[in-house]
């Protein structure tokens, strides 16, 4: 009897402790920053965010703009867009913005394409002037016909912008001279739409370059140009006349911090509450070591970045397809990616030149067959007439397979990538010689003129429209005749690939475009024109004092700050 009572007491104790443990436990994973339970937030408050770069100017269509950070911090928060980029399941897609009364209508007849925009009545500028067709007309005219414009692509294909209800009307009809598949990135995107009532007939650059006081987004520069303290800070305050969700915060300040190590210290000290660092080695190490009270979003599956090994198809030894293929088989790309980004949980190489944000577009696995296979290397090289010398390096006709390998000097992560590739390539019989260059020299001169054999750099998308045609269509090979103006720096010359690549730019149906891209991807992979390597992951870190950001939700194109109007500070 006594033993039975003791057993019951023990059982009761265990049950009681279990109940207490269940009540005290639960989701204590504060590092996720996810919304889980409702967190009490305060109204108002100031937020300070670290920024690695500032734009050179805020005239977003000028050549001095072209800054991703400028777009992320200011342009996307103040300039209106016809389309937003939103997450739909696992994919990021274009969605008609709240500025539009309805989805833009696109019609294609023969070679002509017409896109009609209907602007919502509630869409107004910060001075309450309605957004109208005049703004579309002005924006198009400035970009197409202006001097010193960063990128006219797409706008040059628009023959005219008509305002059937007058320039003050809400309907804008854009008439294209030929089909342009990327039309959704126009009248928005990095450029935005410009206020004709404030800029027409005036010096747009002078008004905007150093900061401007208008907005059609949830934020505006605090005091106009004075909200930008050059090389120091950019301060945004709510646009009280924004028609959508107005910000809860009183103010957001971006502080310039060019040094990554100091940036992380500032984050740990709470001087800045969020950072968006480049995936450099020291950043990866800091994140791997863990930072308390931090939410993080590390995104490699949906980034606009594609870092690759670009081979000069017109230069020895990569003027031989067999050598390009053999080199591609010599590398364990997954191991390289794991060495670089394993600390962030990113371990798989890319198998397509299409950035991962494009999802299933084209053939994401086109290059998957290129895994490390030294027997295959031997087979291809020997079949092409090469033989290994006593030093283990391939040679043919008295010339060794010595490859000059270039990337941007001073980039620690890329230098580490080179070291990893050097080792693997040497084991396969290729001798790589590193010759890194200043970015200006590399991109401005050597790549366009073909003064390289192998190069490591990234292509970055600023919209959801793929842009491989400019990189691989044979008519884009830079030559002395075209003053080295083409972007096909690899000198890829696959005539059968030209047509599908160009179709991607002109077909209006996304599936048709994807099918064309898949066809081109297959040909590019067979030819081993170059080799995709890693998706530079986007890294966004925020203090758990901020309620709003969610893991995996940072917008790869618009940046992590595009929805700051929905953020709040913890109470």
């Amino acid at each position: 009897m006594r033993r039975q009572r003791r057993s019951m007491q023990l059982l009761a104790l265990i049950l009681g402790l279990s109940i207490i443990a269940a009540a005290c436990g639960g989701d204590d994973d504060d590092d996720s920053g996810s919304k889980g339970e409702e967190t009490k937030t305060q109204t108002g408050g100031d937020l300070v965010i670290g920024a690695e770069q500032f734009p050179d100017c805020m005239d977003w269509i000028a050549s001095c703009a072209g800054s991703s950070w400028g777009s992320w911090m200011v342009s996307y928060n103040t300039m209106p867009n016809s389309f937003d980029i939103v997450k739909d399941g696992d994919d990021w897609v274009y969605e008609t913005s709240s500025m539009m009364a309805e989805d833009p209508e696109i019609t294609t007849e023969g070679d002509k394409q017409v896109v009609t925009y209907v602007i919502d009545d509630k869409a107004v500028w910060s001075d309450k002037t309605p957004i109208t067709c005049a703004d579309y007309l002005y924006t198009w005219d400035q970009i197409k016909n202006g001097d010193d414009i960063y990128d006219k692509t797409g706008y040059q294909d628009i023959e005219s912008v008509e305002c059937p209800d007058g320039e003050d009307g809400k309907t804008a009809v854009t008439n294209y001279s030929k089909p342009y598949a990327g039309w959704q990135q126009l009248f928005g995107g990095q450029f935005g739409i410009f206020p004709s009532h404030l800029l027409k007939g005036k010096d747009r650059a002078a008004i905007m370059a150093n900061g401007y006081d208008f907005s059609a987004g949830p934020w505006k520069l605090d005091g106009g140009a004075s909200g930008w303290v050059k090389d120091t800070s950019i301060t945004l305050v709510p646009n009280e006349n924004y028609w959508g969700k107005k910000p809860t915060l009183d103010k957001v300040t971006f502080l310039l911090q060019a040094d990554t190590a100091a940036e992380f210290e500032a984050f740990k000290a709470g001087t800045v509450k969020a950072i968006y660092p480049q995936p450099q080695l020291d950043a990866v190490e800091e994140i791997s070591n863990g930072i308390p009270d931090t939410g993080k979003s590390i995104n490699a599956d949906h980034t606009p970045n594609a870092e690759a090994l670009w081979m000069n198809n017109a230069k020895f030894p990569f003027d031989s397809k067999a050598v390009r293929q053999a080199f591609s088989y010599s590398l364990d790309r997954d191991a390289i990616v794991e060495a670089l980004f394993g600390g962030l949980g990113v371990t798989k190489a890319m198998n397509s030149f299409n950035q991962t944000i494009l999802g299933d577009f084209g053939d994401p696995d086109a290059f998957a067959g290129y895994t490390q296979d030294l027997d295959k290397v031997d087979e291809l090289m020997e079949g092409d007439g090469w033989a290994k010398g006593s030093d283990g390096i391939w040679a043919k006709g008295g010339k060794k397979a010595e490859i000059v390998f270039k990337t941007t000097a001073g980039n620690a992560r890329r230098e580490r990538t080179q070291e990893l590739i050097l080792e693997q390539a040497k084991d396969a019989g290729f001798s790589l010689k590193i010759d890194n260059q200043a970015a200006g020299d590399l991109f401005g001169d050597q790549l366009p003129k073909g003064d390289y054999t192998l190069a490591l750099y990234a292509q970055v998308l600023t919209s959801l429209d793929p842009s491989l045609s400019s990189l691989f269509v044979s008519t884009n090979i830079p030559t002395a005749e075209n003053e080295f103006s083409g972007q096909n720096w690899t000198r890829t010359d696959i005539p059968d690939a030209d047509e599908p690549l160009l179709a991607v730019d002109t077909e209006s149906d996304r599936q048709d475009r994807s099918d064309a891209q898949a066809e081109a991807d297959k040909l590019l992979a067979e030819d081993a024109t170059s080799l995709p390597l890693d998706p530079l992951p986007n890294i966004f870190l925020w203090s758990t004092d901020i309620v709003g950001p969610e893991e995996g939700e940072d917008n790869p194109i618009f940046g992590p700050f595009h929805d700051m109007n929905e953020w709040a500070l913890k109470a």
């Binding site: 300070v48 050179d56 100017c57 005239d59 000028a62 050549s63 001095c64 072209g66 001097d147 010193d148 414009i149 960063y150 990128d151 006219k152 692509t153 650059a205 370059a209 150093n210 303290v229 050059k230 090389d231 120091t232 800070s233 301060t235 300040t253 502080l255 310039l256 911090q257 060019a258 040094d259 190590a261 100091a262 210290e265 500032a266 740990k268 000290a269 709470g270 001087t271 260059q437 200043a438 970015a439 200006g440 020299d441 590399l442 991109f443 401005g444 001169d445 050597q446 790549l447 366009p448 292509q459 970055v460 842009s467 400019s470 884009n476 075209n482 003053e483 103006s485 083409g486 972007q487």
Partner: protein, 324 residues
């Protein structure tokens, strides 16, 4: 004196012309500093050529330089080729930030170096002397960027995290909290770490100079005579030794300060202070020739000026030099 100043001024003009032309020629003849490189990955193939035409980059280098010089002699240093901002305003802003760091740094360094240097000399071979000597060698060997990051980690971040403070006790981003200005407690909190960082090597080297100069003076005949006459030791040190030992240190200080006006790149980079060093680095990276040339002018003028000050100070402090 006037002849000296005039002569120095006249010599500096061709020097600055040669310096600016050489730098301009190097920047323009090297693709590494191509101002259109940032546009190379634009999808629009015409944008690079348009930019080259806008900036006149296809003109011969002497023509480009002449264009800049024609405006520069009237005080117009032109507009940045990448930022659409007047070079003069960029230089003013950057120069003011660097000036603040230099003034505070020089003041702090001078006071500390004099005190420690004199102490080490007076108490030669004491434990204190050994300690300070060791610290100065560490200071000389310590790279500023290492010291800066350590200072941030241990004097700002660690106290904040360990003691659960709302803010770090010392700030390390910029010279003011956003929205604040002027000489106040916030400014001082922002100044401590960058000033310590930039002075760690300067204090160390000035201390060595001061110690050596003081030892030299203390062993001189007139000091021994004063002591023999019964002048108190303290008075001998303060009135005779310190003053005379300042002569070489002041000249070193003047030259060092002049060089600092070229920028404190590492300190500015770590502490996000937009000074002359960062301005120059950014301009170099983007091939922004007008800014580079403006920087060379300002830095060159201050090097010449402070070398002149060093010569003048030498004469002021040492009557023998004045008389000769």
């Amino acid at each position: 004196m006037l002849t000296l100043v005039l002569r120095r001024f006249l010599i500096s003009i061709p020097l600055l012309l040669i310096a600016t032309f050489l730098v301009f020629w190097m920047v323009r003849s090297t693709q590494a500093f191509d101002p259109t490189a940032r546009l190379a990955q634009s999808r629009d193939p015409s944008v690079v050529q348009n930019e080259r035409e806008r900036l006149g980059l296809d003109d011969p280098i002497p023509v480009q330089y002449g264009r800049w010089l024609k405006d520069a002699v009237t005080g117009d240093l032109g507009e940045s080729q990448t930022k659409h901002e007047e070079v003069t305003s960029m230089l003013q802003r950057s120069f003011w930030n660097t000036l603040q760091l230099i003034l505070w740094g020089a003041l702090f360094s001078a006071v500390v170096a004099m005190i420690i240097g004199v102490y080490s000399a007076v108490k030669q071979y004491s434990i204190g002397d050994y300690v300070f000597t060791s610290l100065t060698y560490i200071g000389i060997a310590m790279p500023p960027f290492v010291f800066g990051l350590l200072a941030i980690a241990y004097l700002a971040v660690w106290p904040k995290q360990t003691w659960g403070l709302d803010k770090p006790p010392l700030e390390f981003v910029g010279l003011h909290t956003t929205g604040q200005s002027g000489l106040n407690w916030d400014y001082i909190k922002h100044l401590v770490l960058p000033v310590l960082t930039l002075t760690v090597q300067i204090v160390a080297s000035w201390t060595r100079y001061q110690r050596a100069a003081t030892l030299d003076v203390l062993s001189s005949d007139y000091v021994r005579t004063a002591r023999a006459k019964g002048v108190p030791r303290r008075k001998v040190i303060i009135k005779h030794a310190v003053r005379n030992s300042l002569i070489p240190l002041v000249t070193v200080m003047a030259v060092d300060i002049g060089l600092l006006f070229g920028g404190l790149l590492i300190t500015e980079q770590i502490f996000s202070i937009p000074g002359m060093g960062r301005l120059f680095l950014n301009a170099l990276q983007t091939g922004d020739a007008p800014v580079i040339l403006g920087y060379i002018l300002v830095a060159g003028v201050f090097v010449v000026l402070f070398n002149l000050i060093a010569d003048v100070m030498y004469g002021v402090l040492d009557p023998r030099v004045r008389l000769s």
